[in-house]
Symmetry: C2
Amino acid sequence: MDNRPIGVFDSGLGGLTAVKKLKEVLPGEDIVYFGDTGRVPYGGRSRETIIRYTQQDIAFLLSMDIKAIIVACGTATTNALDYVKDSCPVPIYGVADPAAKRAAEITKNKKVGLIGTEASIRSGAYERLICRYDSDIEMTGVGCPLIVPMVEEGRISRDDKILYHTVEEYLTPLKEKGVDTLIMGCTHYPIISDVIGDIMGEGVALIDPGAEAAKLMKEELAALELLNDQERQALSVYYVSDVVYEFTKTASIFLGENVDDITIRIDIEHY
Amino acid sequence: MDNRPIGVFDSGLGGLTAVKKLKEVLPGEDIVYFGDTGRVPYGGRSRETIIRYTQQDIAFLLSMDIKAIIVACGTATTNALDYVKDSCPVPIYGVADPAAKRAAEITKNKKVGLIGTEASIRSGAYERLICRYDSDIEMTGVGCPLIVPMVEEGRISRDDKILYHTVEEYLTPLKEKGVDTLIMGCTHYPIISDVIGDIMGEGVALIDPGAEAAKLMKEELAALELLNDQERQALSVYYVSDVVYEFTKTASIFLGENVDDITIRIDIEHY
């Protein structure tokens, strides 16, 4: 057993969708979250910059004495995880590998779609991962740069016409391709999974990488005997790199709870 | 006369619209541009963070031995200029004051509209400025967080339905208010001035703050006898805080010229 907290980081607040899943799957674990709200979004930046930011995010979490890390950010996972995982002294889990594994398990027609940031799609990381599980799978990726700002503007309802038509435009090539499985490769996308589901239709399975990563982490921490055995209520604390109120205001959309009193600002450039 | 270059900075590449105007108005002046592409966008960040980033941007330009600065970024102007101008050792011009002055001069019905980032609108800076010129003017501001990512995605044509309907949604309250003058308070907006003009209609004057700032700078540098008198071709050099190729790829949309060989990356966190 290891009663230290689990660290989770994301480029901003989107990673809270993964925190929510983690709390469901591992309710006994304390969580330290870092959201890089002063430098969000990562999705349009270069690989070099994404790697440097990811290294700082990990250094901060390690300073909090955590026992394992989830890289909740799809962009950081696909662009930086391969560069940082060997030097990380605790187990570190990206969101891409568990999602690719799950997609390979459930696709029947071997046509898998991927939506993500420009940087995630450009990295080719999902293609490389899924190929390890089943090299016959054909993956089609589409960069969707407007979905994150739309969700952050509060456009999350299926009645929002601008959201609907934008998502429809992005998903059209995937529908035409006939994919039967779609990986929602950015933390914000599960928030609008009803819209994505409406457009893709009932026959298409949607995969939430944050949820898959949480399930994998549970299995692996159990195997390593690193689960928490304390009997008190688990604690979460949230760190951000811009002011707290902007984060806490929107966090309730993602997390479904108030985090005003447990959110702290840090200077990520010091790490 | 002062033959040192003029410094211009923006949160990213949008400020190139101001550079283009500056080159038209002051063709003899050398220009040093800094685009903070590693930390763009500023528009959703807190005032504290915007001030810190602006201080670093100015410190970098001063290290380049410039004679004056244009803060091309609407968000930095409205949130940080008041905090940094007194300590700046060279003349520094924001984009808001010249635009507010021009709007006060041309509005007939004293109803002026403003579109900008969330941070610009929240700052109330334009209202305070326009009030100094004419306290009877009623200003109505609308935050338009999706326009910047849409333009950066390449959606700049009036035929793009998603762009058109999004801009129409943002502008509807301003049309209902009956404004006869509209300040395009973010560097990206002049790129889609045809779409904005279509929606607002012919009777509404559109103001480009970058163009107004360039005209004001010309007058003031002439009065201060700081204009360049050298007879060679003026030079421009561009610095960015993320990788060069992402910037140069899009810069041609804004500037109408290739800047591949004159763009250099710096680490803005060192300033």
